[in-house]
Structures are given as structure tokens and as C-alpha cells.
Symmetry: C2
């Protein structure tokens, strides 16, 4: 895989340049609205005294850290606010590589490609563990792969791109394996608001010095552009995380932190549930059309992606470009997500035109 | 030097906990107001459609990149918007270390301590070049130090902590030295709005593939908390910078980018000049009092810091704490800035009570 210029951008540029109407199902950008309290938080920030415009504490504004800690039932000291979940994953992976023996990071295949690119940047070795056909991760396969060289195991549930939600036993087993092998689990839970299965369990359910949880508000509040993420870090890694975060970006952007805090305090559960239900409805619409077309797909238990395989139409970049030009639907090629899904395409359900997209796909390929 | 937990934070915490009124001259946080158009930009952003809340291009919002490029007379493609000047320095240094032979980074002494900490994170060797007594950098000393192992030379002018503004000839010589030794100049120019000497020259004045310029709006717009910086990158490093930035934080926060863009477009020159003049007036007030007390100091040509040496009162952390408790003035110990200024204290002119601070210091030490 080549991560120098992620395929996302090539595909998005290609779709933008297309000489026809295209339903955009490429990116992970929600098309629904952020909470009203988030907008109100930005307006409120705009009127604040000059001091509010200066650096927050590097660890994040204290009230925001406290609100996050409260949500998860953890110590405020363990919460570090970062520039998006990306920086949380970056800092957590880098610090875990420094703190644990070995220079290998285990990832799943299919994989969110930024994890692998980041390992290259950090000069770590990447080893892939194949997920099951339905996207689940079998801890026995992790047990076979984990070894003395393994410093970090990065997992993502609800998963991008498979939509799999790892159950409680899987998370427990992953924490145990990391404890047994002197490694660190980095559990990216950024899609936790989009658990359609009711089976999601945070790695925070298992108290352990061998796990970091990363998360953020990009998906749950539909604000990928605000860059507010966080990691929950065990005591022995906190100084390293603080230092690395400080030397990488110093702190997260303060209007964004203030807006998220207000939204955390004032947004009713109904906001999150309505958006999750919207995605669930789109999944039903999209997969019903795929059923009709006889396509193979993974029904997502969480997140907002559907992996699809059309007979005789492998998920290459070339075929993705054909779908844009000839069917008017833009997805992502499976090759972007590792070596196990090169036959597949990923469609993000971040458009109100899911039914239109399904009709176009089935007309073209059905 | 120990960068695990910067001294800034220890001193600020100590000052906050003091049982008396303390004039805070510790941090580089301006106490003046951001441009009104910046506040207006935040309000405008708060009302935008949901799409505006999603990821900007990783390189930054195009209109902001174009406005920055226009300001400097460079190609828009060469401008990358980052999460503060800190991330610009982080990414530029890391990419230059990868691209150029050797693993050594030259820094000046006195030094802004985050540069040195960052080198440790990036597993680079740090070599210091002593600045002159007045804070200027003699290119002949850089010529003596630069060698086959040198991949990067990081300089900062107007300088923190010395206030020195390197002249045109120095910048030219630094670019030439980097060209001659297959190294990269990283020129941090974040204090360029605070040039009291009229001698500031950007490294962008010299077209060269061997220099990156980093900058941001933290100081010029008094918004250290918004985290909007940028780097101007030669063509051969652009792919590497794009990738590393993407894998570190993906993009900068979008409300902050929108606010800075509006402020760039609408803020009159008088805003910048008024704040620069405010600092110049504070410099005069503060140094006049130091003259009266017979203290030794470096009169800053730029930025907003004054290095001071009081006879028989070296700039140790212990003495900084004594000044907080017994004089009610908080500065930074010289040892935070390398080994050449351990006798000195740094005071940041970011308080309207500069005269009060000067009186307290001269009463206590005069």
C-alpha cells in the first residue's frame, strides 16, 4: 500500500472533476448537522475576553477533560485532549512504541489506512492480523501473531471499513493478550455513537495499565473539521503523552474545545440517537437494494460504511473511477484498506441519496 | 535540560499558587485583544451549513492558503496550514531530517526549549551554536559547527528569548550555508509582527530549495489558543510535509482557520502597528527601570521578551520562586533556555503592569 498520498484524496478529486452528477460516498464526513449547542458554544466563545484566546493547558481545558472523564467514569488526569482522534492515535502509538519492548505494531486487515501510514512515519514494523469474513477479530489470531517484538496492538470498533463491533469478550481478550505480552492496546472508539448492534464495549471497561483508549467528537457530533479528540491514558504513560502532545501541537484549538464542552453539556441523547437511527435506516435502504442486485456485502453492526462485492467487478481504483463516470456513484477501492478486501468497494452512508446511489449501482452492475 | 515537563508550567503553577499578588511575565501569551474581524469570523462560522464543520483539505482551506501565499509572494501550493506554529516546526523538522543526510539539528543557545525537546522526540542529535552576547547569530559560528551530520538548522528571528532580529546578511548566509552543506534551514518567524528594529528579513527573501519558513497567527493576532500556523515548503519537500501533517493531525481546526482568514482580509495595518507600539512602549518602561536599578539586560530589537541579569542573583528556578514570593513578579529562569544564560531571567512583556513589575523588581533587588 502507498500512503504517501492517500487514495481518499485521489478518489475525491476524481469525483469532483467528473462531468456528471455523482453521489459522494467516499469520505467519512457526516452530512448531518452538528448539535445546536455546539454552534452556540462558538458564538459564546467569540465574545469572550482576550485571555480566552490564549493557549489552553496542553492537556486540554480542565472542564472539558472533566466532562470527558465523567462520561467514561475515569480520572480527569488520565484524559488528554488532542487535535482530533488522529493526534490521539499518533501520540498514543508513538508513546507506546517508546514505552514497550519491540518495534512492531499489530493492525487488522482490513485496516483504516492512516494507522499503517503512521507506523511507517514512526519507523515501526507493521504486522497484519486478518479479520474474519464478517469483519470480526478473532483473539486467537491475535494470540498467534503477538510476540516479543510486539509493542502495540491497534484496533478500531465499531470498525472502519468493516462495520464490525467487537464484543465484550474480544475486548477483554485483547487487553489480556497485551498484559501477557508486555504490549499496549490502543483502542480507537471514535464510532462509539454509531453502535447499531447494542454490543459495543469500551476497552475502558477493563482496568489495565496496558491499554489506551482514543476517541473524539468528529463523528458523534458531525464535526470532523473541528479537530477535537482525546485519549485516556494509564498513569505510567501520562508524562510521555503530555510531553509528546506538547511538542507536536502544544494544545487543541480553544474555540473548538469550548464548543464541544457546551455541546457535551447541553445536547440531549435524542440528538445522538436520531443520527444513529438515520444511519441505520440508510443501511437498511442500501443493503435491501444490494440484496435485490445479488451483491455480496457486510451488514455493518456499527459505524457508517458498507463493504460490497459485485460479481466480476473487483474494487480496484480503475473500477471506482468507472463507477464515478458511468454510474455516478463514488466509493472507495478495497485496496485502500489492506490486502484482504481488494475485491470489495466501500461506500460511506453520508449522503441523503443512499437510495439513489443504490439504484444507480444496481442499474449499472445488477 | 529536562523537557519532560517544561519549566514554563512549573513556574506558572507556582505563581498561581502564590499567596500574594503576582505580576505574570512568564508565558508568551499576549494580553491584548484579537482583531475584531477574528471574532466576527467565528460568529460567521457558527452559522454555516453542516458541510463547513467537516475536514478542510489537509493542506488547509484553500482561500486561507492563498491569502498567506499572497502575503509572502509565494505559490499557494507551497503553503501548508498546521495546528499552530508548533506543528509547523514539528513537521518541517521531521521531514527535513528524513530528506537530508545526517541526524543532527543545529540550534542556537539561548534556545526556545521546545526545539530541543522536539529533537529528542525525533531521535535527532542536537548541537548548539552560541549566540553573541546581544543575541545575534554569527554565521561564522554556524559555519564552524555545520558538517556532514547536519540535516537541519533551526533559527528564530525575531528571537525568543533574546529579542534579537537577524539582519538580511545573516539570513542570506544561513541559506547559503544550508545549500553548501546539503542541509535545510527551518526559519521560525512567528514574531515577525514584532520587529521594533525595522531590520527583519524573512528567509523567503532568498529563493532556495534548502529552506522552510514556519510562522503563524498566535502572536500577530494574539490568539495562541486558536492553533493556526503554517509552513512554506520547497517543492521537493511538499509530499513529505503533506503526508506527515495528515498522519499527525489530518488538518487544522476549521473555525480557527475561518476566523483567521476573515481577520487577514479585514484587519487594518493599524491593529498590528498599535500592538507592536504597545510592546515597544513597555520595553522602554521596563528597561528604563532596569537602567535605574543598574541591572544588565538585552534590549530587544523584536518579539516581547527581555533578558535581565541582576548582580548576585542568578536566574535559577529557586530565585524565580523567591521573586514570586518576595517581590510579586514571575519570570522564567535562564536555565530554561540553554546553558549560556543561566545567570539571567526572562520577562515577557505581556501585562499592562510592566511599570509595577519593574518597580517591584528594583525595590527588591536594586
Amino acid at each position: 500500500m502507498d500512503y504517501d498520498r492517500p487514495l481518499f484524496f485521489r478518489v475525491m478529486q476524481y469525483a469532483d472533476a467528473a462531468d456528471r452528477d455523482v453521489v459522494d460516498m467516499v469520505s467519512g464526513n457526516p452530512d448531518w448537522a452538528p448539535p445546536e449547542a455546539l454552534r452556540e458554544g462558538l458564538r459564546e466563545f467569540a465574545d469572550r475576553e482576550p485571555e480566552a484566546f490564549q493557549y489552553s493547558a496542553s492537556e486540554g481545558d480542565r472542564p472539558l477533560r472533566a466532562a470527558i472523564a465523567d462520561r467514561h467514569g475515569v480520572d480527569t488526569e488520565s484524559v488528554f485532549v488532542t487535535n482530533g482522534t488522529a493526534e490521539a492515535n499518533h501520540v498514543a502509538t508513538a508513546c507506546a512504541l517508546d514505552a514497550y519492548p519491540g518495534d512492531e505494531v499489530l493492525l487488522t486487515d482490513p485496516v483504516y489506512p492512516y494507522y499503517a501510514g503512521r507506523n511507517d512515519l514512526l519507523k515501526a514494523e507493521t504486522r497484519y492480523v486478518d479479520a474474519d469474513a464478517d469483519g470480526h477479530l478473532d483473539p486467537d489470531r491475535v494470540a498467534e501473531a503477538i510476540g516479543d517484538d510486539t509493542a502495540v496492538v491497534v484496533v478500531n470498533s465499531p470498525n472502519n471499513p468493516t462495520g464490525a463491533v467487537y464484543g465484550r469478550e474480544t475486548k477483554r481478550a485483547l487487553v489480556d493478550l497485551c498484559e501477557d505480552h508486555d504490549a499496549c492496546l490502543v483502542s480507537d472508539e471514535v464510532y462509539d455513537a454509531f453502535d447499531h448492534s447494542g454490543r459495543f464495549t469500551s476497552a475502558l471497561a477493563f482496568d489495565s495499565p496496558n491499554r489506551v483508549v482514543t476517541n473524539g467528537f468528529s463523528k458523534s457530533m458531525a464535526i470532523t473539521g473541528l479537530r477535537v479528540g482525546y485519549c485516556v491514558v494509564p498513569a505510567h504513560l501520562q508524562d510521555a503523552v503530555r510531553t509528546r502532545h506538547m511538542l507536536t501541537t502544544i494544545a487543541a484549538s480553544r474555540p473548538a474545545q469550548a464548543a464541544v464542552l457546551r455541546a457535551l453539556r447541553e445536547t440531549p441523547d435524542a440528538y445522538y440517537e436520531a443520527n444513529r437511527q438515520l444511519v441505520e435506516d440508510r443501511i437498511e435502504t442500501f443493503t435491501a437494494a444490494l440484496d435485490e442486485a445479488g451483491a455480496d456485502y457486510t451488514a455493518p453492526e456499527g459505524s457508517f460504511y458498507v463493504l460490497v462485492r459485485f460479481d466480476g467487478f473487483p474494487g480496484t481504483l480503475e473500477n471506482v473511477e468507472r463507477l464515478i463516470d458511468e454510474a455516478g456513484v463514488a466509493g472507495m477501492p478495497g485496496e485502500a484498506f489492506g490486502s484482504s478486501r481488494t475485491e470489495w468497494l466501500r461506500f460511506a452512508l453520508v449522503t441523503p441519496r443512499v437510495d439513489e446511489a443504490a439504484a444507480r449501482l444496481t442499474d449499472y452492475l445488477g
